[in-house]
Amino acid sequence: MAQSCLQVEQLEKSFMLHHQSGVTLNVFKDISFNAYPGECVVLQGESGQGKSTLLRCMYANYISDSGAIIFHDDDTGENFDITRVSPHRILKLRREKIAYVSQFLNVIPRVPAMQVVCQPMLDVGYSQSKAQQRAEELLTRLNIPSRLWTLSPTTFSGGERQRINIAREFSLYRPLILLDEPTASLDEKNSAIVVELIREAKEQGSCVIAIFHDPANREAVADRVFDLSKGVML
């Protein structure tokens, strides 16, 4: 039996809004599935059923109520329960093992696009020139003209920002890649490039967990589909 990359076990998540009449929003419960290296699992469900929430729990951006999310590090053979390890460990996992493209793109003001893309590489010790070389390769591939490379993405269009974030998260090999609507703001040409990048990542052994509204893009990359409303792998 192949070793999974990520094991979600009976995950439950709700939001308690203390200042909005103390209402509790139950998002999902009893979510369990495994995802393996080299495959793409697409999360499916209607709006509000918790697809983005589930991805964020996997990134430790949200805290789950109960259950476990176990990441298996192929390099060291160690297993980490993302819902329980220390923040310091999460920072290390994010730096080295887990990529994440969020649906809403937060931009740090005044940092040039080139720097945004280079940062993860610099964080693991690449030289400025090597990082820049790789960044240029990806930015060119994603059709970001060089005149934008020294500008901060704050003034870019949604589609441009999305491509900057994709370039950043695909700059290094990552065993786990979490993608929240990576082609939402992209035209056909650029969506196709993102699909290519995902295929290449799978070939390199990455496990990809993604949300795609667009059925064509979903078809192009999904190996399996997990339905959140039914709580089962289809």
Binding site: H18, Y62, D81, P87, R89
Partner: protein, 267 residues
Amino acid sequence: MMMQGAPEKAFEQPMLEVKGLTRLYGPNKGCQRIDFELYRGEILGIVGESGSGKSTLLRCLANLEKADHGQLLYQSPDQGQVELEKLAEAQRRSLMRSEWGIVHQNPRDGLHLDISAGANVCERLMGQGARHYGQIRARTKEWMQRVELDPARIDDKPAAFSGGMQQRLQIACNLVTSPRLLLMDEPTGGLDVSVQARLLDLLRQLVHELGVSVVLVTHDMGVARLLADRLLVMRHSEIIETGLTDQILDDPQMPYTQLLVSSIIRA
């Protein structure tokens, strides 16, 4: 299958471990039962409103106030593990000047306004044993440039600088001796918004480049979001929540944290 869950043994020694730090001057005034760890290269933000106790906490770390009780365990490269609260006063002060640094909210608290900018920087370098005048001056100019101060103003007195420039000078004075740990209290408080922005960018860049660990106190959640990796949220002298900055901002658990986060004006 070896499982790493809670409680996880540290895979890396924290640079600073604070245990049970308490300094109270009245019921819930000051700080109490403060526990946290700080790792190399990490920026820890301490946030909370006025009166939450965050400045008291920083002052205890900076040896500007004596804690009632608690432990401060620091990993010094030369001396190994040091219990700061047990150090003799002179040794504690020496540590503050060499391996640690502090950037005060008001630059006047961290600078001698009546001696030149160069002399301010020089004082720190000489405190570390530097003696060669030419070299000291060259390093000073280099650092002034790094914090975007005109090196030609090396002989001007800080009293003649703007608030933002004084703050940059304070930062240069601290970073010139490559400290391992930097304490910062509202480093951009009182500065104009545009000046704040540039200063924050500079801080972020320098801290990243040098791999300095930072404890940053701020009431400004925007500053915390920009600079900090992790946050401690304080209220009425206690830590009420702690976690990764993005997690605290995106999924705050405690009622007070939710209130604090909901009051940030998002760009």
